[in-house]
Amino acid sequence: MAEVWVFVREFDGAPTPLALELLTKARQVGDTTAVYVGTGSEEAFARLGEYGAKNVFHLDPKDSLVAAPVARAMAERLETDKPDLILFGQAYDDRDVAGRLAARIGRPILSNATNVTLEGSTSHEIFGGTQIAEAEITSAGPKLVLIRPKSFAAEPTGGAAPQVTVLDLPDVGGAGAKVTGTHVEERQGPKLEDASVIVSGGRGLGSAENYELIEKLGKLLRAATGATRAIVDAGWVPYAKQVGQTGKTVKPDVYIACGISGAMQHLVGMKDSKVIIAINKDADAPIFGIADLGVVGDVHKVLPKLIEALEKR
Protein backbone atom coordinates (compact mmCIF):
# COMPACT_ATOMS: atom_id res chain seq x y z
CA MET A 1 0.00 0.00 0.00
CA ALA A 2 1.14 3.49 -0.80
CA GLU A 3 2.28 5.76 2.00
CA VAL A 4 1.05 9.34 2.20
CA TRP A 5 2.08 12.23 4.40
CA VAL A 6 -0.34 15.09 4.93
CA PHE A 7 0.83 18.47 6.20
CA VAL A 8 -1.59 19.64 8.89
CA ARG A 9 -1.43 23.16 10.25
CA GLU A 10 -3.06 23.84 13.58
CA PHE A 11 -5.47 26.76 13.85
CA ASP A 12 -7.23 27.66 17.12
CA GLY A 13 -6.04 24.41 18.65
CA ALA A 14 -7.43 22.15 15.91
CA PRO A 15 -6.45 20.94 12.44
CA THR A 16 -7.59 23.36 9.72
CA PRO A 17 -10.62 22.34 7.62
CA LEU A 18 -8.30 22.23 4.61
CA ALA A 19 -6.11 19.63 6.34
CA LEU A 20 -9.16 17.46 7.06
CA GLU A 21 -10.04 17.57 3.35
CA LEU A 22 -6.54 16.39 2.50
CA LEU A 23 -6.64 13.60 5.12
CA THR A 24 -9.93 12.37 3.65
CA LYS A 25 -8.33 12.16 0.21
CA ALA A 26 -5.07 10.71 1.51
CA ARG A 27 -6.63 7.70 3.21
CA GLN A 28 -8.21 6.69 -0.12
CA VAL A 29 -4.75 6.72 -1.64
CA GLY A 30 -2.69 5.02 1.04
CA ASP A 31 -1.59 4.70 4.68
CA THR A 32 -1.68 8.18 6.12
CA THR A 33 0.69 10.03 8.40
CA ALA A 34 -0.27 13.52 9.52
CA VAL A 35 2.61 15.97 9.93
CA TYR A 36 0.99 18.11 12.61
CA VAL A 37 2.42 21.58 13.16
CA GLY A 38 1.21 23.38 16.28
CA THR A 39 0.87 23.06 20.05
CA GLY A 40 -1.06 19.80 19.76
CA SER A 41 -3.49 18.10 22.17
CA GLU A 42 -5.23 14.75 22.72
CA GLU A 43 -8.36 16.12 21.02
CA ALA A 44 -6.48 17.45 18.03
CA PHE A 45 -4.68 14.14 17.49
CA ALA A 46 -7.91 12.17 17.99
CA ARG A 47 -9.45 14.28 15.27
CA LEU A 48 -6.61 13.38 12.91
CA GLY A 49 -7.39 9.72 13.65
CA GLU A 50 -11.08 10.25 12.95
CA TYR A 51 -10.15 11.53 9.52
CA GLY A 52 -7.96 8.57 8.75
CA ALA A 53 -4.44 9.34 10.01
CA LYS A 54 -2.74 6.21 11.42
CA ASN A 55 0.39 8.04 12.53
CA VAL A 56 1.16 11.57 13.57
CA PHE A 57 4.46 13.41 13.55
CA HIS A 58 4.09 16.28 15.97
CA LEU A 59 6.22 19.39 15.48
CA ASP A 60 5.80 22.44 17.68
CA PRO A 61 7.73 25.45 16.38
CA LYS A 62 6.36 27.71 19.18
CA ASP A 63 7.18 31.31 18.28
CA SER A 64 9.46 30.42 15.36
CA LEU A 65 8.27 31.11 11.85
CA VAL A 66 7.38 27.55 10.90
CA ALA A 67 8.89 27.04 7.47
CA ALA A 68 12.63 26.55 7.95
CA PRO A 69 12.67 24.36 11.08
CA VAL A 70 9.67 22.27 10.02
CA ALA A 71 10.94 21.72 6.49
CA ARG A 72 14.34 20.65 7.80
CA ALA A 73 12.86 18.31 10.40
CA MET A 74 10.75 16.71 7.66
CA ALA A 75 13.78 16.44 5.40
CA GLU A 76 15.72 14.63 8.15
CA ARG A 77 12.89 12.16 8.59
CA LEU A 78 12.79 11.60 4.83
CA GLU A 79 16.27 10.15 5.02
CA THR A 80 14.69 7.00 6.48
CA ASP A 81 10.95 7.23 5.67
CA LYS A 82 9.92 6.95 2.03
CA PRO A 83 6.35 8.18 1.53
CA ASP A 84 5.08 8.07 -2.05
CA LEU A 85 3.17 11.32 -1.73
CA ILE A 86 3.33 14.39 0.50
CA LEU A 87 0.18 16.50 0.35
CA PHE A 88 -0.01 20.17 1.33
CA GLY A 89 -2.87 22.66 1.02
CA GLN A 90 -2.59 25.73 -1.20
CA ALA A 91 -2.24 27.89 1.92
CA TYR A 92 0.43 30.20 3.29
CA ASP A 93 2.30 28.04 5.82
CA ASP A 94 1.83 24.99 3.62
CA ARG A 95 3.42 26.77 0.67
CA ASP A 96 6.33 28.00 2.77
CA VAL A 97 7.12 24.57 4.19
CA ALA A 98 6.60 22.76 0.87
CA GLY A 99 8.87 25.18 -0.98
CA ARG A 100 11.71 24.91 1.50
CA LEU A 101 11.34 21.13 1.83
CA ALA A 102 11.36 20.67 -1.96
CA ALA A 103 14.54 22.69 -2.30
CA ARG A 104 16.14 20.84 0.62
CA ILE A 105 15.49 17.34 -0.74
CA GLY A 106 15.64 18.29 -4.42
CA ARG A 107 12.13 17.24 -5.35
CA PRO A 108 9.66 19.06 -7.63
CA ILE A 109 6.27 20.39 -6.49
CA LEU A 110 2.99 20.35 -8.34
CA SER A 111 1.04 23.47 -7.24
CA ASN A 112 -2.64 24.39 -7.38
CA ALA A 113 -3.85 20.83 -7.90
CA THR A 114 -7.56 19.99 -7.66
CA ASN A 115 -7.05 16.24 -7.71
CA VAL A 116 -4.28 13.70 -7.19
CA THR A 117 -4.01 9.99 -7.97
CA LEU A 118 -2.17 7.18 -6.24
CA GLU A 119 0.57 7.46 -8.85
CA GLY A 120 0.95 11.13 -8.01
CA SER A 121 -0.46 12.57 -11.23
CA THR A 122 -2.52 15.69 -10.69
CA SER A 123 -5.27 17.84 -12.21
CA HIS A 124 -5.05 21.62 -12.37
CA GLU A 125 -7.65 24.16 -13.40
CA ILE A 126 -6.13 26.69 -15.76
CA PHE A 127 -7.40 29.78 -17.52
CA GLY A 128 -10.00 30.52 -14.87
CA GLY A 129 -11.16 26.91 -14.68
CA THR A 130 -12.13 26.68 -18.35
CA GLN A 131 -9.49 24.04 -18.99
CA ILE A 132 -7.98 21.19 -17.02
CA ALA A 133 -4.31 20.34 -17.24
CA GLU A 134 -3.11 16.90 -16.17
CA ALA A 135 0.45 16.83 -14.89
CA GLU A 136 2.92 14.33 -13.52
CA ILE A 137 6.28 14.11 -11.85
CA THR A 138 8.70 12.14 -13.95
CA SER A 139 11.40 11.18 -11.43
CA ALA A 140 11.43 8.74 -8.54
CA GLY A 141 11.00 9.86 -4.93
CA PRO A 142 8.32 11.45 -2.77
CA LYS A 143 5.88 13.56 -4.81
CA LEU A 144 5.02 16.93 -3.29
CA VAL A 145 1.59 18.25 -4.24
CA LEU A 146 -0.16 21.46 -3.15
CA ILE A 147 -3.94 21.07 -3.28
CA ARG A 148 -6.50 23.85 -3.53
CA PRO A 149 -9.01 24.23 -0.69
CA LYS A 150 -12.43 22.60 -1.17
CA SER A 151 -11.14 20.16 -3.76
CA PHE A 152 -12.45 17.30 -1.61
CA ALA A 153 -15.18 17.06 1.01
CA ALA A 154 -13.87 16.32 4.53
CA GLU A 155 -15.50 13.15 5.93
CA PRO A 156 -14.61 11.37 9.18
CA THR A 157 -14.21 7.59 9.17
CA GLY A 158 -14.28 7.17 12.93
CA GLY A 159 -10.70 5.89 12.97
CA ALA A 160 -8.92 5.23 16.25
CA ALA A 161 -6.45 7.55 17.95
CA PRO A 162 -3.23 7.60 15.94
CA GLN A 163 0.29 6.80 17.05
CA VAL A 164 2.00 10.11 17.88
CA THR A 165 5.74 10.66 17.44
CA VAL A 166 7.33 13.95 18.42
CA LEU A 167 9.85 15.25 15.90
CA ASP A 168 12.51 17.57 17.20
CA LEU A 169 13.06 20.82 15.37
CA PRO A 170 16.65 21.46 14.34
CA ASP A 171 18.40 24.75 14.99
CA VAL A 172 18.27 26.53 11.62
CA GLY A 173 20.57 29.40 12.58
CA GLY A 174 20.28 32.45 10.37
CA ALA A 175 17.54 30.85 8.24
CA GLY A 176 15.06 31.21 11.09
CA ALA A 177 12.71 34.04 12.01
CA LYS A 178 10.51 34.82 15.00
CA VAL A 179 6.82 35.59 15.22
CA THR A 180 6.68 38.37 17.79
CA GLY A 181 3.04 39.37 17.58
CA THR A 182 -0.34 38.36 16.21
CA HIS A 183 -3.10 40.68 15.16
CA VAL A 184 -6.59 39.31 14.55
CA GLU A 185 -9.08 41.42 12.67
CA GLU A 186 -12.65 41.51 13.91
CA ARG A 187 -15.20 39.67 11.84
CA GLN A 188 -18.95 39.98 11.87
CA GLY A 189 -21.38 37.38 10.59
CA PRO A 190 -20.62 33.90 9.32
CA LYS A 191 -17.22 32.73 8.03
CA LEU A 192 -16.77 32.87 4.26
CA GLU A 193 -15.79 29.19 4.04
CA ASP A 194 -18.92 28.00 5.87
CA ALA A 195 -21.53 30.48 4.62
CA SER A 196 -24.40 29.27 2.46
CA VAL A 197 -24.91 32.78 1.08
CA ILE A 198 -22.11 35.18 0.13
CA VAL A 199 -22.33 38.79 -1.00
CA SER A 200 -19.10 40.04 -2.59
CA GLY A 201 -18.00 43.43 -3.81
CA GLY A 202 -15.41 44.61 -6.30
CA ARG A 203 -13.89 47.77 -7.67
CA GLY A 204 -17.24 48.67 -9.26
CA LEU A 205 -18.39 49.82 -5.80
CA GLY A 206 -16.28 52.91 -6.44
CA SER A 207 -14.96 53.52 -2.92
CA ALA A 208 -14.22 51.87 0.41
CA GLU A 209 -17.22 53.62 2.00
CA ASN A 210 -19.57 51.97 -0.50
CA TYR A 211 -18.61 48.53 0.82
CA GLU A 212 -21.24 49.41 3.42
CA LEU A 213 -23.83 48.37 0.79
CA ILE A 214 -22.31 44.88 0.76
CA GLU A 215 -22.31 44.72 4.57
CA LYS A 216 -25.96 45.81 4.73
CA LEU A 217 -27.12 43.32 2.13
CA GLY A 218 -25.03 40.63 3.79
CA LYS A 219 -26.67 41.25 7.14
CA LEU A 220 -30.17 41.09 5.67
CA LEU A 221 -29.41 37.76 4.00
CA ARG A 222 -27.41 36.41 7.00
CA ALA A 223 -24.62 36.07 4.47
CA ALA A 224 -20.84 36.27 4.70
CA THR A 225 -19.25 39.16 2.84
CA GLY A 226 -16.43 38.74 0.34
CA ALA A 227 -14.27 40.81 -1.95
CA THR A 228 -11.98 40.79 -4.96
CA ARG A 229 -8.24 41.14 -4.66
CA ALA A 230 -8.51 44.55 -6.33
CA ILE A 231 -10.28 46.05 -3.32
CA VAL A 232 -8.24 44.11 -0.78
CA ASP A 233 -5.03 45.48 -2.32
CA ALA A 234 -6.59 48.93 -2.36
CA GLY A 235 -7.02 48.59 1.40
CA TRP A 236 -10.83 48.86 1.37
CA VAL A 237 -11.31 45.55 3.19
CA PRO A 238 -9.02 43.03 4.93
CA TYR A 239 -7.47 40.08 3.13
CA ALA A 240 -9.65 37.69 5.13
CA LYS A 241 -12.47 38.64 2.76
CA GLN A 242 -10.64 37.86 -0.47
CA VAL A 243 -12.21 35.22 -2.69
CA GLY A 244 -10.21 33.66 -5.50
CA GLN A 245 -7.02 31.98 -6.54
CA THR A 246 -4.97 33.60 -3.80
CA GLY A 247 -7.85 34.07 -1.38
CA LYS A 248 -10.59 31.75 -0.23
CA THR A 249 -12.31 29.10 -2.30
CA VAL A 250 -16.05 29.13 -1.67
CA LYS A 251 -18.96 26.98 -2.80
CA PRO A 252 -22.08 28.57 -1.28
CA ASP A 253 -25.68 28.00 -2.37
CA VAL A 254 -25.89 31.59 -3.55
CA TYR A 255 -23.07 33.99 -4.51
CA ILE A 256 -23.94 37.61 -5.29
CA ALA A 257 -21.15 39.45 -7.16
CA CYS A 258 -21.50 43.24 -7.12
CA GLY A 259 -19.28 45.39 -9.32
CA ILE A 260 -16.96 42.45 -10.00
CA SER A 261 -15.59 41.96 -13.52
CA GLY A 262 -15.04 38.22 -13.23
CA ALA A 263 -11.29 37.94 -13.74
CA MET A 264 -10.00 34.36 -14.06
CA GLN A 265 -8.35 34.55 -10.66
CA HIS A 266 -11.62 35.52 -9.02
CA LEU A 267 -13.68 32.92 -10.87
CA VAL A 268 -11.56 29.96 -9.75
CA GLY A 269 -12.49 30.79 -6.17
CA MET A 270 -16.28 30.96 -6.63
CA LYS A 271 -17.40 29.39 -9.91
CA ASP A 272 -18.63 26.26 -8.16
CA SER A 273 -21.27 28.20 -6.21
CA LYS A 274 -24.70 26.65 -6.84
CA VAL A 275 -26.39 29.89 -7.93
CA ILE A 276 -24.51 32.98 -9.06
CA ILE A 277 -26.11 36.42 -9.27
CA ALA A 278 -24.07 39.26 -10.79
CA ILE A 279 -24.63 42.99 -10.96
CA ASN A 280 -22.32 44.86 -13.31
CA LYS A 281 -22.86 47.87 -15.50
CA ASP A 282 -20.81 46.44 -18.34
CA ALA A 283 -22.96 44.01 -20.36
CA ASP A 284 -19.78 42.30 -21.62
CA ALA A 285 -18.24 41.67 -18.17
CA PRO A 286 -16.91 38.07 -18.03
CA ILE A 287 -18.80 37.42 -14.78
CA PHE A 288 -22.01 37.22 -16.83
CA GLY A 289 -20.59 34.16 -18.58
CA ILE A 290 -21.18 32.09 -15.44
CA ALA A 291 -24.04 33.99 -13.77
CA ASP A 292 -27.45 32.32 -13.45
CA LEU A 293 -28.97 35.77 -13.12
CA GLY A 294 -27.04 38.67 -14.60
CA VAL A 295 -28.22 42.21 -13.97
CA VAL A 296 -26.72 44.77 -16.30
CA GLY A 297 -26.97 47.79 -14.07
CA ASP A 298 -25.37 50.20 -11.64
CA VAL A 299 -24.67 48.83 -8.14
CA HIS A 300 -25.50 52.26 -6.73
CA LYS A 301 -29.02 51.95 -8.10
CA VAL A 302 -29.73 48.23 -7.79
CA LEU A 303 -28.26 47.56 -4.32
CA PRO A 304 -30.07 50.35 -2.42
CA LYS A 305 -33.38 49.23 -3.93
CA LEU A 306 -32.66 45.60 -3.13
CA ILE A 307 -31.74 46.52 0.45
CA GLU A 308 -34.83 48.65 0.87
CA ALA A 309 -37.12 45.95 -0.49
CA LEU A 310 -35.58 43.32 1.80
CA GLU A 311 -35.88 45.59 4.82
CA LYS A 312 -39.60 45.89 4.15
CA ARG A 313 -40.17 42.17 4.07
Binding site: A67, A68, Q90, A91, Y92, D96, A98, G99, R100, A102, A103, R107, P108, I109, S111, S121, T130, Q131, I132, A133, E134, A135, E136, I137, T138, S139, A175, A177, K178, V179, T180, T182, H183, V197, R229, V232, D233, P238, Y239, A240, T246, D253, V254, K274, V275, I277, A283, F288, I290, A291, D292, L293, G294, V295, V296, G297, V302, L306, A309, L310
Partner: protein, 252 residues
Protein backbone atom coordinates in the same frame (compact mmCIF):
# COMPACT_ATOMS: atom_id res chain seq x y z
CA UNK B 1 21.95 47.52 1.73
CA UNK B 2 22.40 45.42 -1.42
CA UNK B 3 18.96 44.55 -2.70
CA UNK B 4 18.09 42.01 -5.36
CA UNK B 5 14.54 41.90 -6.72
CA UNK B 6 13.33 38.78 -8.52
CA UNK B 7 11.13 39.97 -11.35
CA UNK B 8 9.60 38.17 -14.25
CA UNK B 9 8.77 39.19 -17.79
CA UNK B 10 5.41 37.76 -18.81
CA UNK B 11 3.11 37.90 -21.84
CA UNK B 12 0.77 40.90 -21.52
CA UNK B 13 -2.10 39.68 -19.29
CA UNK B 14 -4.50 41.76 -21.38
CA UNK B 15 -3.91 39.36 -24.27
CA UNK B 16 -5.27 35.79 -24.26
CA UNK B 17 -2.68 33.24 -23.14
CA UNK B 18 -1.94 30.28 -25.39
CA UNK B 19 -0.13 27.00 -24.82
CA UNK B 20 2.15 25.31 -27.32
CA UNK B 21 0.41 22.24 -28.69
CA UNK B 22 3.15 19.65 -28.10
CA UNK B 23 4.89 20.83 -24.91
CA UNK B 24 1.94 22.67 -23.26
CA UNK B 25 4.34 25.50 -22.42
CA UNK B 26 3.08 29.05 -22.42
CA UNK B 27 3.65 30.85 -25.72
CA UNK B 28 5.98 33.79 -24.95
CA UNK B 29 6.12 36.61 -27.50
CA UNK B 30 9.29 38.72 -27.89
CA UNK B 31 7.48 41.68 -26.34
CA UNK B 32 6.82 40.81 -22.71
CA UNK B 33 5.85 43.09 -19.85
CA UNK B 34 7.03 43.30 -16.25
CA UNK B 35 4.74 41.11 -14.14
CA UNK B 36 2.49 43.46 -12.21
CA UNK B 37 3.13 41.36 -9.09
CA UNK B 38 6.81 42.28 -9.30
CA UNK B 39 6.26 46.04 -9.68
CA UNK B 40 5.53 46.00 -5.95
CA UNK B 41 8.80 44.24 -5.27
CA UNK B 42 10.72 46.73 -7.38
CA UNK B 43 9.07 49.68 -5.61
CA UNK B 44 9.72 48.16 -2.18
CA UNK B 45 13.35 47.60 -3.15
CA UNK B 46 13.77 51.17 -4.35
CA UNK B 47 12.31 52.59 -1.14
CA UNK B 48 14.48 50.42 1.12
CA UNK B 49 17.58 51.13 -0.98
CA UNK B 50 16.99 54.86 -0.80
CA UNK B 51 16.87 54.73 2.98
CA UNK B 52 20.12 52.81 3.18
CA UNK B 53 22.37 54.08 0.41
CA UNK B 54 22.17 51.00 -1.73
CA UNK B 55 21.03 50.00 -5.16
CA UNK B 56 18.54 47.56 -6.62
CA UNK B 57 19.54 44.78 -8.99
CA UNK B 58 16.85 42.91 -10.93
CA UNK B 59 17.32 39.16 -11.43
CA UNK B 60 15.12 37.44 -13.95
CA UNK B 61 15.00 34.09 -15.71
CA UNK B 62 13.29 33.52 -19.03
CA UNK B 63 13.43 34.51 -22.68
CA UNK B 64 14.92 38.03 -22.82
CA UNK B 65 13.03 39.04 -25.96
CA UNK B 66 12.97 42.79 -26.43
CA UNK B 67 13.62 43.18 -22.67
CA UNK B 68 10.74 45.61 -22.46
CA UNK B 69 9.71 44.25 -19.06
CA UNK B 70 13.22 44.59 -17.61
CA UNK B 71 13.54 48.10 -19.02
CA UNK B 72 10.32 48.91 -17.17
CA UNK B 73 11.98 47.93 -13.88
CA UNK B 74 15.14 49.86 -14.76
CA UNK B 75 13.05 52.89 -15.71
CA UNK B 76 11.46 52.80 -12.27
CA UNK B 77 14.94 53.20 -10.82
CA UNK B 78 16.73 49.84 -10.54
CA UNK B 79 20.45 50.14 -11.31
CA UNK B 80 21.11 46.94 -13.13
CA UNK B 81 19.45 43.81 -14.46
CA UNK B 82 20.65 40.23 -14.79
CA UNK B 83 18.71 37.95 -17.09
CA UNK B 84 19.33 34.25 -17.44
CA UNK B 85 18.09 33.29 -20.87
CA UNK B 86 19.02 29.82 -22.00
CA UNK B 87 17.10 27.59 -24.41
CA UNK B 88 17.70 24.57 -22.15
CA UNK B 89 15.72 26.31 -19.42
CA UNK B 90 12.49 26.43 -21.42
CA UNK B 91 9.68 24.72 -19.57
CA UNK B 92 11.55 24.89 -16.25
CA UNK B 93 9.56 23.99 -13.17
CA UNK B 94 9.60 25.94 -9.90
CA UNK B 95 12.64 24.14 -8.46
CA UNK B 96 14.76 24.54 -11.60
CA UNK B 97 13.78 28.21 -11.68
CA UNK B 98 14.69 28.66 -8.03
CA UNK B 99 18.09 27.01 -8.47
CA UNK B 100 18.96 29.33 -11.33
CA UNK B 101 17.69 32.44 -9.54
CA UNK B 102 19.51 31.53 -6.33
CA UNK B 103 22.78 31.00 -8.20
CA UNK B 104 22.44 34.36 -9.95
CA UNK B 105 21.55 36.12 -6.69
CA UNK B 106 24.52 34.58 -4.86
CA UNK B 107 26.77 35.70 -7.73
CA UNK B 108 25.59 39.30 -7.30
CA UNK B 109 25.80 39.29 -3.52
CA UNK B 110 22.89 40.54 -1.43
CA UNK B 111 21.59 41.62 1.94
CA UNK B 112 17.94 41.38 0.99
CA UNK B 113 16.09 39.51 -1.76
CA UNK B 114 12.58 40.65 -2.65
CA UNK B 115 10.07 38.58 -4.62
CA UNK B 116 6.35 38.60 -5.35
CA UNK B 117 3.99 36.19 -3.62
CA UNK B 118 2.95 34.50 -6.86
CA UNK B 119 3.60 35.23 -10.51
CA UNK B 120 0.74 36.06 -12.85
CA UNK B 121 1.56 33.47 -15.50
CA UNK B 122 2.90 30.56 -13.43
CA UNK B 123 1.49 31.20 -9.94
CA UNK B 124 3.25 28.23 -8.39
CA UNK B 125 3.67 30.43 -5.34
CA UNK B 126 6.73 28.51 -4.09
CA UNK B 127 9.71 29.80 -6.06
CA UNK B 128 10.77 32.42 -3.45
CA UNK B 129 10.64 29.93 -0.56
CA UNK B 130 12.84 27.56 -2.56
CA UNK B 131 15.28 30.36 -3.31
CA UNK B 132 15.46 31.18 0.41
CA UNK B 133 16.21 27.57 1.36
CA UNK B 134 18.95 27.30 -1.25
CA UNK B 135 20.50 30.57 -0.04
CA UNK B 136 20.06 29.45 3.60
CA UNK B 137 18.22 32.63 4.63
CA UNK B 138 14.79 33.17 6.23
CA UNK B 139 11.80 33.79 3.98
CA UNK B 140 9.57 36.44 5.51
CA UNK B 141 6.52 35.87 3.38
CA UNK B 142 3.28 37.66 2.36
CA UNK B 143 4.42 41.01 3.70
CA UNK B 144 1.96 43.88 3.86
CA UNK B 145 4.54 46.07 5.58
CA UNK B 146 8.34 45.88 5.58
CA UNK B 147 10.95 47.61 7.74
CA UNK B 148 14.63 46.85 7.36
CA UNK B 149 17.45 48.54 9.24
CA UNK B 150 20.70 47.70 10.98
CA UNK B 151 20.85 44.10 9.97
CA UNK B 152 17.27 43.40 11.04
CA UNK B 153 14.06 42.99 9.11
CA UNK B 154 10.52 43.17 10.47
CA UNK B 155 7.35 42.58 8.48
CA UNK B 156 3.62 42.31 8.88
CA UNK B 157 2.83 38.88 7.49
CA UNK B 158 -0.69 38.60 6.12
CA UNK B 159 -2.73 35.73 7.59
CA UNK B 160 -6.26 34.53 6.93
CA UNK B 161 -7.45 36.38 10.02
CA UNK B 162 -5.21 39.45 10.16
CA UNK B 163 -1.44 39.60 10.36
CA UNK B 164 1.59 38.43 12.34
CA UNK B 165 4.65 40.48 13.16
CA UNK B 166 7.73 38.54 12.01
CA UNK B 167 11.36 39.43 12.73
CA UNK B 168 14.49 38.05 11.15
CA UNK B 169 18.05 39.10 10.59
CA UNK B 170 19.71 40.00 7.30
CA UNK B 171 20.56 38.50 4.89
CA UNK B 172 16.95 37.52 4.23
CA UNK B 173 14.28 37.15 1.58
CA UNK B 174 10.83 38.75 1.70
CA UNK B 175 7.81 38.26 -0.50
CA UNK B 176 5.55 41.26 -0.83
CA UNK B 177 1.81 41.40 -1.44
CA UNK B 178 0.30 43.91 -3.81
CA UNK B 179 -0.93 46.12 -0.98
CA UNK B 180 2.55 46.81 0.41
CA UNK B 181 3.51 49.97 -1.53
CA UNK B 182 2.25 52.05 -4.43
CA UNK B 183 4.54 51.38 -7.42
CA UNK B 184 5.80 54.53 -9.13
CA UNK B 185 5.32 55.17 -12.80
CA UNK B 186 8.57 55.62 -14.71
CA UNK B 187 9.31 59.23 -15.59
CA UNK B 188 10.48 60.25 -19.05
CA UNK B 189 13.95 60.76 -17.61
CA UNK B 190 13.82 57.31 -16.06
CA UNK B 191 12.84 55.73 -19.37
CA UNK B 192 15.72 57.45 -21.18
CA UNK B 193 18.23 56.45 -18.48
CA UNK B 194 17.00 52.84 -18.50
CA UNK B 195 18.25 52.45 -22.06
CA UNK B 196 21.82 52.98 -20.88
CA UNK B 197 21.73 50.88 -17.72
CA UNK B 198 23.70 47.61 -17.66
CA UNK B 199 21.94 44.33 -18.43
CA UNK B 200 23.91 41.10 -17.95
CA UNK B 201 22.60 38.40 -20.22
CA UNK B 202 23.71 35.05 -18.79
CA UNK B 203 23.47 31.47 -20.01
CA UNK B 204 23.16 28.48 -17.71
CA UNK B 205 26.88 27.73 -18.20
CA UNK B 206 27.75 31.07 -16.57
CA UNK B 207 26.26 29.83 -13.31
CA UNK B 208 27.59 26.69 -11.74
CA UNK B 209 24.23 25.12 -11.20
CA UNK B 210 22.38 22.14 -12.51
CA UNK B 211 18.76 22.79 -13.32
CA UNK B 212 16.65 19.90 -14.47
CA UNK B 213 12.90 19.79 -14.65
CA UNK B 214 11.17 16.59 -13.68
CA UNK B 215 7.53 17.37 -14.10
CA UNK B 216 5.41 17.73 -17.20
CA UNK B 217 1.91 18.48 -18.35
CA UNK B 218 0.55 15.37 -20.01
CA UNK B 219 -2.75 16.66 -21.38
CA UNK B 220 -5.09 19.63 -21.59
CA UNK B 221 -8.84 19.28 -21.85
CA UNK B 222 -11.89 21.50 -21.62
CA UNK B 223 -13.49 21.72 -18.19
CA UNK B 224 -17.22 21.02 -17.99
CA UNK B 225 -18.54 24.43 -18.95
CA UNK B 226 -20.81 26.43 -16.73
CA UNK B 227 -23.00 28.58 -18.92
CA UNK B 228 -24.57 31.88 -18.08
CA UNK B 229 -28.32 32.06 -17.49
CA UNK B 230 -30.69 34.97 -17.81
CA UNK B 231 -29.21 38.41 -18.36
CA UNK B 232 -31.48 41.38 -17.79
CA UNK B 233 -31.01 45.10 -18.26
CA UNK B 234 -31.87 47.07 -15.11
CA UNK B 235 -34.95 49.13 -15.87
CA UNK B 236 -35.36 50.15 -12.27
CA UNK B 237 -36.94 46.88 -11.18
CA UNK B 238 -34.09 44.37 -11.52
CA UNK B 239 -33.93 44.04 -7.75
CA UNK B 240 -37.35 42.35 -7.87
CA UNK B 241 -35.92 39.61 -10.10
CA UNK B 242 -33.13 39.10 -7.60
CA UNK B 243 -35.64 38.83 -4.76
CA UNK B 244 -37.67 36.31 -6.78
CA UNK B 245 -34.63 34.12 -7.27
CA UNK B 246 -33.59 34.41 -3.60
CA UNK B 247 -37.10 33.42 -2.53
CA UNK B 248 -37.11 30.51 -4.96
CA UNK B 249 -33.80 29.32 -3.47
CA UNK B 250 -35.30 29.78 0.02
CA UNK B 251 -32.64 32.28 1.06
CA UNK B 252 -35.47 34.61 2.10
Amino acid sequence: MRIVVCAKQIPDPATPYKLEADTHWLVRPAEQVLDDTDRYGVEMGLQLAQNSDGGVTIVSMGPAGSMQGLRQALAMGAEKAVIIDDPTLRGSDALATARVLAAAIAREGFDLVIAGTESTDGYSGVVPQMVAEILDVPALTYATEVKAAEGKITIHRQTSTGYEVVEGSLPALVTVTAGVVEPRYPTFKGIMEAKKKPVDNLALADLSVEATTDQKVTSISDAPARSGGAKIEDDGAAHEKIIELLAQKKVI
